[in-house]
């Protein structure tokens, strides 16, 4: 690729291999499209960066993961996880720039060479010669698709779309207690009825798991898309009747919820799946894109609940 007009630092962020300093977002955009028919993937990403503003951490995993950033964009698709099925659906919908919240190539390394520590042990990442990695890359190149990971930069929006969008899908938009906290007071119902409602609204299959008191009366809920650490769990579980998180570690947070139940606490912890918890936020991302990239359509494509339970 030739990007002599990009500063090295700026390019590093664009390419997902950032240097030490955060990206400065000043000055005219050197990649501005000459006309709407020439809007490149790079130009779209530049515009997203400018519009989102805020900090662009140098440790971010965000960046182009596959395809040619110089590709002229016909349409944009957002998703929590750019699986091959999502990419196929995107192409069918005439989108060729995919913005994904999670990796495309099955590890945080996301197609880059695995970390040295993993070499030889064969447990970290999937190398470029892996047949699935290879086939996905070939498919992406053949179909002229560009994949950009948009995680940290989207997550850091002040509005915290990941939370508000999840609340929106659950029908709780006007139930938020404070604008700066993910606490919601919902119409009181039993934990098991609340879980059934969540399963239905998010179209979950086997990915939802609940622990705690089924009969607890649930009114106050903490929404926590993504992964929740034990420290957050210890601090916040006693404030609420239910935590709805993406994922936790079972010997840590799930264990804590099980012990709270054994201690007679009437609460429940519900994990809906990391990706499932992030999809509403990426739907909101598509809606937002429509307001900042008006030249091409933007659509959200659901990766779906990956899990099923055998009979």
């Amino acid at each position: 690729m030739h990007h002599t007009h990009l500063s090295r630092r700026r390019f590093a962020v664009l390419a997902g291999s950032a240097g030490v300093a955060p990206l400065a977002l000043t000055g005219p955009n050197p990649l501005a499209a000459q006309g709407s028919d020439q809007l490149t993937a790079e130009a779209v990403v530049r515009r997203i960066q400018t519009k989102l503003g805020g900090d662009w951490p140098s440790t971010s995993p965000d960046g182009f993961k596959a395809g040619d950033p110089g590709t002229v964009v016909k349409g944009i698709a957002t998703t929590a996880m750019a699986t091959l099925e999502v990419l196929k659906a995107a192409v069918k919908a005439n989108a060729n720039l995919i913005l994904t919240y999670e990796p495309t190539f099955y590890a945080r390394a996301d197609g880059a060479a695995p970390a040295a520590a993993g070499r030889g042990r064969g447990t970290f990442g999937f190398g470029p010669d892996d047949p699935v990695v290879k086939a996905k890359r070939e498919w992406i190149d053949k179909n002229g698709v560009v994949v950009f990971r948009l995680r940290d930069h989207w997550q850091s929006r002040q509005e915290n779309e990941m939370v508000t969008a999840l609340a929106g899908v659950l029908g709780w938009s006007n139930r938020r207690i404070k604008s700066d906290d993910a606490l919601y007071d919902i119409p009181a119902s039993s934990a098991e009825n609340t879980v059934a409602m969540i399963r239905g609204k998010l179209k979950l299959r086997g990915g939802l798991r609940a622990v705690g008191d089924k009969k607890a009366s649930v009114r106050r809920v903490l929404l926590y898309p993504g992964s929740m650490t034990p420290a957050v769990m210890w601090q916040r579980y006693s404030e609420v009747d239910m935590i709805v998180a993406g994922e936790v570690r079972e010997w840590e947070n799930t264990h804590y919820a099980a012990d709270m139940f054994a201690a007679g606490e009437k609460r429940a912890l519900v994990t809906i799946g990391r990706v499932a918890s992030e999809e509403p936020g990426m739907r909101a991302c598509a809606d937002w894109l429509k307001t900042v990239v008006k030249e091409v359509p933007a659509t959200w494509i659901d990766a779906g609940d990956p899990y099923w339970r055998p009979a």
């Binding site: 590890a107 064969g122 420290a231 010997w251 799930t254 264990h255 919820a257 054994a262 099923w308």
Partner: protein, 259 residues
């Protein structure tokens, strides 16, 4: 015999070198000088499990997993936590003592957690399995049928599967707990306890979804952490019974936490 003496005998009889720097394999609660009336072996020291061990007259718990809801059982941020106080007071009040054997168990041949995981999954020939037992061959079947068999056999309520139920499978790779192994081109099915769903060292979930999309026969079965390492703690109890005499030793399972 004191709890400390029990641990001394376990260390003496261990066949894998003991790592004294392990943050896991240590006393976690109670007084190591407590006289042991009975030993409960378990996958995880849940509060519910502690109560059942106490009711059975067993005051020493040997646990594979943590007691205080974080991997190294670090309690510095928990001193004001009501549940921490309740659980700890229960242990002390009832003259109980908790000791963890995790790292050494996984370093031992056989690794009882994996032996137990294979048995509870209904996979034969794993009696001498190590933590990384390699690729095992099962009679060819569909992934859906195999998953049903694993569910029936293990009793895991909250078992989760990714992959095409109609795919023909026979090559299986198993790992315990969070050590769910990485899918490889040679393997049809990976079985583990749990794994970060995405953005980790390797993401089996998305990998398998894409492999299925490409027409490859692949699947992942997540048993749940407790179920995956549960059965092996009964084997561990039998092993310590070889050199610990005159004290009742009983397997007290941790409950599967999910509805």
């Amino acid at each position: 015999m004191t709890a400390n003496e029990v641990v001394g005998l376990i260390k003496k009889n261990a066949t894998a070198p003991w790592n004294e720097r392990s943050t896991r394999d240590r006393f976690k609660a109670g007084n190591p000088d407590t006289t042991v009336k009975g030993i409960a072996t378990t996958m995880m020291t849940t509060f519910d499990m502690l109560k059942r061990a106490h009711a059975a007259g067993l005051n020493m718990v040997i646990t594979h997993e943590d007691t205080y809801w974080n991997d190294p059982d670090d309690t510095k941020d928990l001193t004001a936590n009501a549940l921490y106080k309740l659980k700890t007071e229960y242990i002390l009040k009832n003259d109980m003592v908790v000791w963890r054997d995790h790292d050494n168990m996984h370093a031992t041949k056989p690794d009882y957690t994996v032996v137990g995981e294979l048995r509870s999954a209904g996979i034969k020939g794993g009696g001498n399995a190590t933590m990384r037992p390699g690729v095992l061959t099962i009679p060819e079947t569909t992934f859906g049928e195999f998953a049903e068999q694993v569910k029936r056999s293990s009793g895991a309520r909250a078992i989760r599967c990714v992959g095409d139920p109609k795919a023909r499978v026979s090559k299986v790779l198993v790992g315990p707990g969070y050590a769910t192994p990485r899918m490889t081109p040679e393997v049809d099915v990976v079985i583990g306890g749990e794994q970060q769903e995405a953005d980790g060292g390797f993401d089996n979930v998305e990998y398998v979804m894409d492999a299925v999309s490409l027409g490859m026969a692949k699947g992942v079965i997540m048993l749940g952490h407790v179920i995956s390492e549960q059965a092996g703690m009964e084997d561990f109890g039998k092993w310590i019974g070889i050199f610990i005499h005159g004290i009742p030793i009983q397997f007290v399972p941790a409950e599967e936490p999910f509805w």
